[in-house]
Symmetry: C2
Subunit: 390 residues, 2 copies
């Protein structure tokens, strides 16, 4: 097990009707002038935005609003947010939405007190040493951004999708009401499921030895998600399944699953190019790329894939490790199919002919190498895209 | 699943040679005048106390020392600590040790800024609304106090052992070097293992339905502990086993295993009387009382006991739920025996004839009722002590 630091200070306020606490929580954390950041029509249509505004008005908390964040959140929105925060002397950002809104809020939070271009953080040129506090009202369980220090932003013009993180960006509080997710359509629900599972699997597949405690944690989250997923697809207003999934998605990405172990993240790198090029949902891209990645790398750590097959998918060990490992990968793929996720380029709407394009931006974004479970170069990346394109 | 709040802001600094960070961390969290609180000879003999002192001196951080905390930490030591902190204007408490030292530090932290008797907190007469910050250098993985808001103190004269908790008492940081636990003797190691498992099981056995995510987390911690325990008993300097156990013990009691579910805590109540009366180690008492409690209550929630048997102990379901449940309880008992723990009164050094005494203090401490999985009165408690005394 490797040395590690774990710091997850977010206050999670979880359950039915917890949105009503938003005013008290904002005051507790010193907010006086809030930017409410949100996405599209759903926060308005559901009445959630209106509810939050009413609470803030009743508590005499000033706020301005900035809506319109889209999936794969854009740098252009971040610039707009930074300008607004400076102009309005905003001291706190409240994100209402899923990962895209929260990530956009985090980028604005880091960019507002910084005099240069916020993209410098993503390019690794500058370290974030100050940020406005961010809090969230989560409406989509998927990205885990409500409990993580990470964010992903798409530079629109160049179609560059890059991730960055800093402990200062961990939300100070996150309100999580599973009932807010009842209206999520089946496809978005499934994308979220792929995303949370991917967050665990990026950590699970490691070459670090002797990490039984975090192995078991990873498996616990995967088992819970696999159990709840079909229930929620079948019965979108099942509170218990929505609730278990929502909490699992946070634990999948607040860092605890990765403590003491080297993480991988090759698949996220591969996927980012797909959503940058085609605008596909991140979770959909992950469902396509994860089994492809596994098929390419499993021989580099067969015992771990056997463990995945037996402990997560309940596959009997036959003595033939390769066979067991491949059954585990197939079980994941079958599971994705069973909840309506795409598992190849065609189903995703991606084209084999675009692999050159994908590789050329991946080369820029990754610096030419990806992952840790097996170190991948662009030849490997091409081979994995080709498996996915089959 | 019930509504919940989860807030675990402790910064965990985990791994080999992490004690060297103690000065930097104390400065980061604003310590200028520190009370170093510790137990007996082992912190001195191992050189750990000396190492910490050297670091503080090199960083020009003032400190005073108070050693001599004993297992089942005493109110008399807490009063001494409060007096010292006031006299020396201490603004930060650094606990070096296991749960007893940390709990004593927490009580001093809460008592110092409070003008009345700190025992009022434990009697529920007053709420803690201010406390000195506490940090820890953990040397015994067991109590989970390094990541919890809880403390347990023994009122010496009356032999009353009571627990209390407040979010303000969560340590601001905890340094956890598994190598510091190499010198723990086998019996203390085993007591710690019983303690961490008990912290999970007090949460696992619930009547709250639909808590798959936290069920799986509980099972994950138990499985990891069960895997590492025999290794560490056999090979005390096995880094990986020590490390996995140490991290598991924190996760067992930082609260995450209990989110969304009603917890039980009857067994802790029953055990506290044993350690108060006989001075036995808390973990030893828990190893005796948990199987006895299970045997008494299992029919009140047989499906959960079947789940425990099958998922944690790998017992095949036979169709006869009672049989499966009892096999799970027996597996726990066998496991405790296998790592040298006592499982009945005789092995613990407790006497059947003292049950009246145990019940009379339990009546005072519990107010006459215990637990949630099955609500127990003093007749039930007596019956459980009698099972343990057989």
């Amino acid at each position: 097990m490797n040395n590690f630091r774990f710091w997850s200070p977010t206050e999670f306020v979880f359950g039915k009707n917890t949105v009503k606490n938003v005013g008290t929580l904002l005051k507790k954390y010193g907010a006086t002038n809030v930017l409410i950041h949100y996405g599209g029509a759903s926060a308005i249509k559901s009445g959630l935005l209106c509810e939050v505004e009413n609470i803030l008005q009743n508590e005499f908390i000033n706020y301005v609003k900035l809506g319109g964040v889209q999936p794969n959140p854009l740098d252009t929105m971040v610039y707009k947010g930074i300008e607004l925060c400076r102009k309005e002397n905003v001291d706190f950002i409240l994100a209402i939405g899923g990962g895209s809104v929260i990530d956009s809020a985090k980028a604005i939070a880091a960019g507002t007190p910084y005099s240069g271009d916020f993209w410098n953080f993503f390019q690794g040129k500058v370290t974030i040493n100050k940020a406005l506090p961010v809090a969230t009202v989560l409406t989509i369980p998927a990205a885990g951004s409500e409990g993580s220090p990470n964010m992903v932003i798409l530079k629109e013009k160049e179609k560059l999708k890059k991730g960055h993180g800093n402990p200062l960006l961990r939300p100070v509080f996150s309100i999580m009401d599973p009932e807010l997710t009842y209206t999520l359509p089946a496809n978005q629900t499934a994308y979220g499921i792929a995303d949370m599972m991917a967050h665990v699997m990026e950590r699970y597949f490691t070459q670090t030895c002797d990490v039984e405690t975090s192995d078991r944690l990873c498996e616990a989250i995967l088992l819970a998600v696999i159990h709840e997923a079909p229930i929620v697809i079948d019965d979108p207003c099942n509170y218990s399944a929505r609730a278990n999934l929502m909490w699992a998605s946070t634990l999948a990405h607040n860092g605890v699953c990765g403590m003491g172990r080297e993480e991988d993240w090759a698949t996220h790198g591969l996927e980012h190019e797909l959503s940058a090029l085609y605008g596909v949902a991140h979770g959909a891209g992950l469902a396509v790329m994860f089994p492809a990645w596994m098929q390419y790398v499993y021989t580099s750590g067969i015992d771990r894939f056997v463990q995945f097959a037996t402990r997560v998918w309940g596959i009997e060990e036959t003595g033939d490790k390769k066979e067991t490992a491949l059954k585990g990968i197939q079980a994941l793929k079958d599971f994705f199919v069973s909840i309506g996720l795409p598992v190849n380029f065609e189903q995703l709407g991606a084209k084999k002919d675009d692999i050159d394009k994908l590789i050329s931006t991946l080369q820029i974004n990754s610096g030419g190498t990806l992952g840790n479970f097996r170190k991948l170069d662009m030849t490997d990346a091409r081979a994995i895209y080709e498996i996915a394109a089959k």
